[in-house]
Structure formats: C-alpha cells, structure tokens
Symmetry: C2
Subunit: 417 residues, 2 copies
C-alpha cells in the first residue's frame, strides 16, 4: 500500500507559500506503516486538479487531498474527484443545517454559495470538522478495477490536523493489517554528521528491521529510529535495543534521548543541581537568552543578564575594566573572562556565561582590527573558576551567532555532567 498526497491551492505555486500539511500527514501515515510515494501540488484549476486526481488514483492505493473544500469558485477538489471517479454528489442536509447554525451564531445570513460545502461524494462518509465550515470526506472505491481509499480534508492546518487524527487515522488503521510503530530519537550537538555516521552506522546497520534516519540541523545531529511489529512490545524492544547500543558508543556526546531540546536539557540539569544562570552577550545580542527563555518555566533557573553590545555597557553591566577592553579588544579571552565573572557577580547567579565575537559581515574594528570574522570567545564562570574557550566559526552572521549560542549551551551541559 502506498499513498499520494495532493495539496490543492494556487497560493502554493507562488514563491511565497509552501505545502506544510504533507509533513504532518506523512508522519501519521508512516505511523501506520504506509509510505508516501508521491506528493503533488496543484493550483485551483478544475482541469489540473482532475488530471492530478486521475494520475494519483492510477498509481497510489491511498490518495489524500488537502485544500479546495471551501465555498468559493476556486474550491474545486470535490468536483475534480467526482469527475475522476464518475460519481454524483449528494447535498447533505445535516451539513446545511450546521452551516446555517454557524452563520446564525455570527449573526450573518449564509451566502448561497456556502451550500456547496455540503456536497458529499456518493458513497463517501462525511467527516465532521470541529474547527471550520468544510467537512472532510472518506471514500473507499474502485478505480480501473483497483481498490482505492480517497480522503478529502480542508487545507488550513488548524482544521486538517485534528480532523486527520480523530477521523482519518483511525479509519486508515482499521483498513491496514495490524502493526505497531515504536520510535526513539537521539540528539547530539556540534559533532560532524560524518563522525556520527562513522561511529554509529556499524551499530544501526545490525538492526535491519529498524529504520534509521540521520538529520543534520544547525549545530545538531539527530538520529531517528522507528520499527513496526505486530505488537508494540516487540517494536519497542527493537528500538530500545539499538538506542541502548548507540548510547553505549556515543555516551556523553548524546544530550537527549527523549526528544528534549538542548535548551531544555541545560535548564533541567540546572534544576537538578539547584543552579542558576545569567548571561552577558555581545555578538549574539540576546540570542542565547532568547533561546533559554523560549522554554516555559525557564525563569526558575535563568535569571537574565545583559546584552552588552556596546563597549561601554560591558563596563556598566558586567564591570569589565575599560582599559582591558581597550588593550585586548572587546573580542578577546580577557574580556570574555571578565564578562562571565562580572555578570555572575552582578546577578548573584551560580553560573555566568559570556559570548563575545565577530559575527560579520564587517571585520573587527578598533582594538579588534585584524581579528577574523567568526572568532568568538565563550566564557563560563562558576565556583570552580572561569574557563574561556576560543571558537573559530564559519558562515554568515546568522550562522555564526547561532553556533556561538549553541556552543555556549553545549559547554554548559558538558560542565554540569
């Protein structure tokens, strides 16, 4: 059984908008052991939609449509599927009543063209939409002598997601041979993908029934494992076995084995150790603080700090002596050290962290003349003293800032191990 996802909507054929529903739908289909073989994006044209529907029904067992179920002339998914399958549509009176009620609640008369949202393909089940006016449809049918499942879903993610989970997935599960999927993931920071692969491939390749995916994102490698078996216990046991073997190999390089982000792990470890943190950020300009405070509950461990973008504020908020900045330059081991110690002292946090560097695109100026773009000093001060790490980062301003913050988080984690 293979699936095809068709996203209908001319806006997804512009440079501005992308189909994002398919990622979510793919995850849900994979849960049931159904691979997605094709994705098609098509505009609001009856001819193009009908052609796409024909092609999909000829090559995939399950065809999921998202979008094109609204009340306007441009909403043509129902019509295209009806034409492809040679089916009539039946106007559903319960939906008409419900639509009138929705409009009455907002004290508006229902425009006549909204009634077309009540048109159901002959033989299809209507799938109520709790978050919008267009219901979904689920149809088991034949196309050119082959059994096909056709699903129509509204385009807005806030309508599609709950409808898929509560109405579509259970129906597809019932149509599939029983199978249970177990999943785990391992996250590592700042290790090259090739290193992770070289060290882990000999392990995960021994587990042929576990599907392994390596994902490299900004300063992070994730290993995703999944396994389908007739019972959940069997599937879970296989996934746990490969995770355990890889944990043994990668050990402390792994920062999370249950999906937590690096920020969450750092905050969690601080909580366990009754520690608090403050940050003095120069080139990252608040990015490290922003990433930590994006986590709900971070205020228990992260006190705050200073964005010491100008030289003067390095003195005002972290007590860095002006003559040190002048002599060594703001991007220096000495300034990173003084910033980390200063912010720790001023805030009373157990740990002070500092970042100062040259993010570009311009080179170092003043006392930093001649220092290269990407040179970053990272300071961490705690009761045991202060450590400064010199980094040489590549890439543009955005990448250098992100990796500098990533190094700060990973360094904090490693020091707390």
């Amino acid at each position: 059984m293979i699936a095809e996802i068709i996203a209908a909507g001319s806006e997804m054929l512009t440079p501005f908008r992308q189909d994002t529903n398919s990622l979510y739908l793919t995850a849900g289909l994979n849960d049931l052991g159904i691979p997605v073989a094709f994705k098609t994006i098509v505009g609001d044209s009856l001819e193009h939609l009908t052609s796409a529907a024909q092609i999909a029904l000829s090559r995939a067992d399950i065809v999921l449509f998202s979008g094109g179920l609204g009340p306007t002339e441009d909403d043509l998914t129902r019509e295209a599927v009806a034409a492809t399958l040679g089916l009539k549509m039946v106007r559903d009176n319960t939906i008409i009543t419900m639509l009138h009620k929705r409009f009455a609640e907002r004290r508006i008369a229902m425009p006549p063209n909204n009634a077309k949202q009540a048109d159901i393909l002959n033989g299809a089940e209507m799938l109520p939409n709790g978050n919008g006016s267009a219901p979904g449809q689920y149809l088991v049918t034949n196309f050119a002598g082959k059994r096909r499942i056709v699903v129509l879903m509204p385009g807005p993610p806030k309508e599609l997601k709950p409808l898929f989970v509560s109405q579509v997935k259970p129906r597809l599960a019932a149509a599939m041979p029983p199978s249970f999927l177990a999943r785990r993931e391992l996250h590592m920071a700042l290790i090259p993908e090739s290193t992770v692969d070289a060290r882990t491939a000999p392990i995960y390749q021994r587990y042929a029934d576990v599907e392994t995916t390596i994902l490299a994102t900004q300063g992070e490698i994730q290993l995703h494992f999944q396994c389908a078996k007739p019972t959940l216990e069997e599937a879970q046991a296989r996934v746990d076995a490969v995770v355990e073997a890889i944990e043994h190999e990668m050990d402390e390089d792994i920062y999370s084995s249950h999906g937590e982000s690096l920020e969450e792990v750092v905050l969690l470890m601080m909580g366990l150790r009754h520690l608090t943190l403050a940050a003095a950020e120069s080139c990252t300009g608040g990015l490290l603080s922003e990433r930590l405070t994006a986590i709900a509950g971070s205020s228990r461990y992260f006190l705050g700090g200073a964005v010491v973008y100008s030289d003067a504020l390095k003195t005002t908020f972290a007590g860095v002596p002006a003559e040190v900045i002048e002599r060594e330059g703001p991007v220096s081991d000495a300034v990173a050290r003084a910033l980390a110690e200063g912010i720790r002292e001023r805030t009373g946090a157990s740990i002070g962290v500092s970042i100062t560097g040259i993010a570009g695109p311009g080179p170092g100026t003043g006392a930093d003349v001649g220092k290269p773009i990407g040179l970053v000093y990272l300071g961490i001060a705690d009761t045991d003293g202060t450590q400064v790490k010199e980094l040489r980062l590549n890439g543009d301003r955005e990448r250098i800032r992100w990796w500098a913050a990533q190094h700060a988080l990973e360094q904090l984690r490693r020091q707390m191990l």
Copy 2:
C-alpha cells in the same frame, strides 16, 4: 507556456524534509512571466521518476528537475529522463577530467561510480556546476510532437541557486517572448489583513495588469505587486502607479516600500535622527535585542541592554524600586515605566524601551496573580517623557513574545515619525 518542477529525493517524502528549491525556482520563472502549474515530489525510484517525467512532459512546456544527479545508485534523474525521451547518454570527457581533478585536489582517488555524473543526455547542453561535482543539463526537445524544455539541476540549494541564475535563467529568457517584470512591495505591521484588504482592494483592482498578492505573516501584512510588459519602463510605471495610490491611502501605516524589515527601518530612522536605543526585556527574554542585533551595522544605534527576567535584576540593571515591583507586580504599567526610564539612564541611550508581560503557558504569580496570559506592558522613555502601552495579546508563548517585540518595534517607528 507553463512549467512543472519535479523534486527528486526520498528524503522529501519523510516527515522531516521538504522541497524548498521550488520556491526559489518559482520566483525565477515568474520573473520571466512563466507560471508554475504543478510541483511533484518523487522518491529515488527509477519507475516513479520515469512516470513523473512522462506526466510532466505531457502537461508542461518547461520541466525542471532538482536532485538525483549525484554519483550513487539512488541518483536516477538522468536515467529517468533518458528513458522517458528515448535518448541515449553520452559520457562527457571534459566532465570526467574535471571530476578527477576535484578528487585529486582532496588527494582521494575517484570512486568509479562517480563517472556517471559525466553522462549527458544526447543533445543536451552541459551546465557547469561551480559548487559541486554534478553538472546541470539543458535540453530542448520534442515529446509527443510538442516542443519541450527540460532542465536538470543538482539538489543542494548552494549548487542549484547559482546554477539556475547564471546558466538556466538566461537560456529560458532567450527562449521566451521579450517581457520585463517590475516588482514592488509594501509592508505594514500589526494591521489586520481584512482591514488592509478592505482599504486597498478598491485601489489595486483598478490595475488589472498588475498582479497583487497579500501575504500575512507574524504581525505583518505585505502587499506584493508585479507587472510584465514589453519594456521595463512600462512595467515599472504601472507598478509604481499602484504603489503610489496605496501609499496615499495607507500613509504612515506603511513602514517600508522597498523591502526593508521593520528592524531595519527602526535602525535607519534612528540613524537619521542621531538616536541610540537600549532595551530592558522581561517576558521577551532577549528577543527584541536579538532581532535588532541580527541586522548588520545595528551596533551604531543599538547599545544593548538587560534581560531582566528575574525581579531582582529589574532592580539591579534598571533601578526599578523593589517596593514598586512588590506593590504593582512585575507585569504592570509602573514597572514598564521604571524599566524604560532606568535602562535609558543606566545606558545613556537616547531612547529606553521596556517589555514586561505574561507570555504563558502559566498564569501570573505573586503580585501578578489574576492577570491574564497575554497581558504585556510596553514602555518607551525618551527626552519627551515616558509612554506606556498596555497590550492584550493572543496565542501561545512564542506568539505572545513575537508580537510583544513587534509592537515595541512598531511603536518606536511611530514615535520617530
């Protein structure tokens, strides 16, 4: 003339990866007046790729492939196109020499399967790839009696983008009737999309030859205009005319008419007025500072500030009296006012901005008990005094933080007008 974009790669049929090249390619095709009618995403299967190629060649005049040009067994785009068009492939000796040279530079012997990257469709032009080993291909051919342009490009964006711009776009432009495209965009912050549409639709609808797109992103509405004419002057005149009419209507609600971001506009206005800025952020935790410092050159106007996440730091870094925090609660008009004034004074900036609020998911605690999630106070202190604005924001933690920072930027802009 219509185009279809085919993205080849099984990773784009997982829940983890998406085709992003097509947005870039679509913009480039639209520049030439070529609309994209279909996008297909297909895995690394010769059967599926060949079927997708057949379908695309039967319905689109121009078919662009991205991906599947590498050296591995999974890289099958060349083979699929050759099979569909019934063409032989010719091994190109210049490419073989170049491949050997690339490997020699890294002091590795070339693995034999890399040679297949030198296979060129009979009749196709080879498009040199300055950033990778797989060259592109450009072929003008016939399929079922119709003229077709087929373009093969490598998948990695860093290879595809320069190759498309320097090699593909000029060839497509030469193949199209001469047409010049002019574009403009207008940006507005914090205005509902429906309001923008109600006020501007009567204007832009009078310009039937100008294509208008409304995009709503986080706290921002963009109006994009484009117009194609036989000369650039004609196209530019039409786009400028609609922009001018809408500028007249929306006036100061428009923050940018040449594509600058809100952050850039605020910094630009500060530069023109010789002003400097410092920020004291509580619930946004550094987001406002991070957004401003993401702009290169921001250090001339943005000095920095403090992330006053804990109550104590509101006193330490911005001198907010502890009794005011205790009496009014950290999320209050009085604390926002004291933060803005305090950070201005401590840093010596011409303007001090402060944000304090309840971002959720938890409700207010301590002296803030009973205050709702989404309540945010925004303070701005300058030589004329201090203004505090109370905001009631909706949504989750991430949305509330983003909108609070957006309001701060927009308020700064409006005060500088």
